[in-house]
């Protein structure tokens, strides 16, 4: 009797188990799916990466910093005027001249802070700076912009016959900037950057010129392909002297170009009316005008080297 009971119980339960299986099967597929979704959670808000491909556009520095233990080698070149008195065929449309050359190094102290050193041909300006990306845009837009501060000190080391540099402090120039950048889509990024320039010796050294002035820059990049984009850059110094002066006459620096990324290198080829590369120089002293043919071809090459200690492969 007991045996029959047991058998009955067994068949009953197995029967139930089998009977439940078809609907249970369907359930498990969808439940495995929903379980997976609940486990992986909602997509976390991540910091937006690569708002710009490099630390430089045409005139502006971007919100990007160099990551820890990486070295960015920067070469910027501006040729001579394409048109006007100094351009044309006799100078191969400016290629015979270089209005400015900048060689610089940017080294990542942390992932968000880098130290920069560079030298310009223009005013022989040596500059040392720090750049700190203290706020990252997030993918859920809870933080809509990236914020980066830049501080630079410039030194003009050349000798002069006048006494303007008798006070050594007159050789120093300062630059401070807040970069407000947003990656609107994977194609389009833009930034505006209020800045402050201080030249201990007003530059250019002309009667009435100010030591201090503010400036506002706007720049953007629109990618045409994954690796190539159009960049535009514009800056306006808020300076009464520069607005009112007739001789010399000042113009707002601006530029347009294309940016190509090749994995490691970023090239920018551009046209700009600004002769100088350092913001202390081009914000202070841009006297060249697009309309007079005083614009030039230029390029920027940046290359990142990674000095992180070699790791053993993680693929095990």
């Amino acid at each position: 009797m007991k045996h029959y009971l047991l058998l009955a119980a067994f068949t009953l339960f197995t029967g139930m188990a089998f009977a439940q299986q078809p609907p249970a099967k369907k359930d498990t597929i969808s439940s495995a799916d929903s379980l997976l979704n609940s486990l992986s959670g909602e997509t976390k808000a991540e910091p937006v990466m690569a708002t710009f491909k490099s630390t430089r556009l045409i005139l502006s520095e971007t919100s990007e910093t160099i990551k820890k233990n990486n070295l960015n080698f920067v070469i910027v070149h501006r040729f001579g005027d394409i048109g006007g008195n100094d351009g044309g065929g006799k100078t191969l449309w400016g290629f015979d001249n270089s209005s400015d050359i900048y060689i610089g190094f940017e080294y990542g102290l942390t992932d968000n802070l880098d130290i920069d050193f560079g030298r310009s041909k223009y005013e022989q300006l040596l500059e040392l700076g720090l750049k700190y990306n203290f706020l990252h845009q997030t993918s859920d837009n809870s933080i809509p912009v990236a914020l980066t501060v830049i501080g630079k000190t410039g030194l003009k080391p050349y000798s002069v016959t006048t006494n303007v540099f008798d006070d050594y402090g007159n050789r120093f120039n300062y630059f401070a900037q807040l970069v407000i950048a947003r990656k609107f889509s994977s194609r389009f990024s833009a930034q505006i950057s209020p800045s402050f320039v201080r030249n201990n010796l007003p530059f250019p050294f002309v009667e009435g010129n100010e030591k201090d002035f503010f400036s506002l820059s706007a720049a953007g990049r629109f990618k045409i392909t994954k690796r190539m984009g159009i960049v535009v850059d514009y800056a306006h110094p808020f300076s009464d002297f520069r607005r009112n002066s007739d001789s010399p006459k000042f113009y707002d620096p601006s530029g347009v170009g294309i940016e190509i990324e090749t994995g490691g290198h970023v090239f920018t080829m551009n046209f700009t009316n600004a002769e100088a590369i350092s913001p202390m120089n081009y914000l202070s002293n841009t006297q060249s005008k697009w309309g007079k043919g005083q614009y030039r071809f230029g390029f920027t090459i940046t290359r990142v080297f990674d000095f992180n200690p070699k790791h053993k492969g993680t693929y095990k």
Binding site: L5, T14, R227, G264, D306, N308
Partner: protein, 180 residues
């Protein structure tokens, strides 16, 4: 005899709840041989669900969770190749073809047939792997190849650091019983 009935009862009633295993820290690595330097990256935040009764399984890994030796490589991986802002996860949803017996220790070669989605492109694939049961711990390991072109991952001509056209993927997941 009564005891046997009770044991059977308990066994059957427990059966349903003991089918689902989960893993929240699956290790997923990728490797690619490149002329200049080998590229490898690892994520330890893959999630997986495995139903040992039905064989149903699912895997998901956030693309952003892969860490590379070089930060620039990681940026290029996310920005240029995987477009992780558009396609944040890689997933596999399928079914293990073999019957699994997790009550016995051992190592079982398995084939999982299902849909593998990377870079927004779904591929129907059968992926070989091994299910190991050791002292009640169920784990799964697999190595397979993903061809970039199968998932519309473009390798541009104008790069100095060329990457290989196929990527080796290694998956290792150790499961725990899912408790509701």
């Amino acid at each position: 005899m009564k005891y046997i009935v009770i044991i059977l009862l308990v066994w059957f009633s427990n059966q349903a709840g003991q089918d689902t295993y989960v893993c929240k820290n699956a290790k997923i690595s990728l490797f690619s041989k490149a002329p200049l330097e080998d590229i490898d990256a690892t994520s330890n935040t893959g999630t997986s669900v495995l139903n040992v009764a039905t064989g149903d399984m699912a895997f998901s890994v956030p693309i952003r969770s892969f860490t590379f030796e070089k930060s620039l490589m990681q940026e290029h991986f996310n920005e240029n190749y995987m477009e992780s802002d558009k396609y944040p996860n890689a997933t596999f949803k399928g079914k293990i073809q073999e019957k699994l017996d997790v009550t016995k220790d051992g190592s079982y070669p398995v084939n999982a047939a299902g849909v593998f989605e990377v870079h927004g492109v779904k591929q129907t694939r059968t992926i070989k792997g091994t299910v190991t049961v050791s002292k009640g711990v169920v784990s799964l390991a697999s190595t397979f190849i993903v061809a970039c072109k199968d998932h519309n991952i473009e390798i541009p001509q104008l790069v100095f650091q060329k990457i290989a056209e196929t990527i080796q993927i290694k998956v290792a997941a150790s499961y725990t019983l899912y408790k509701k």
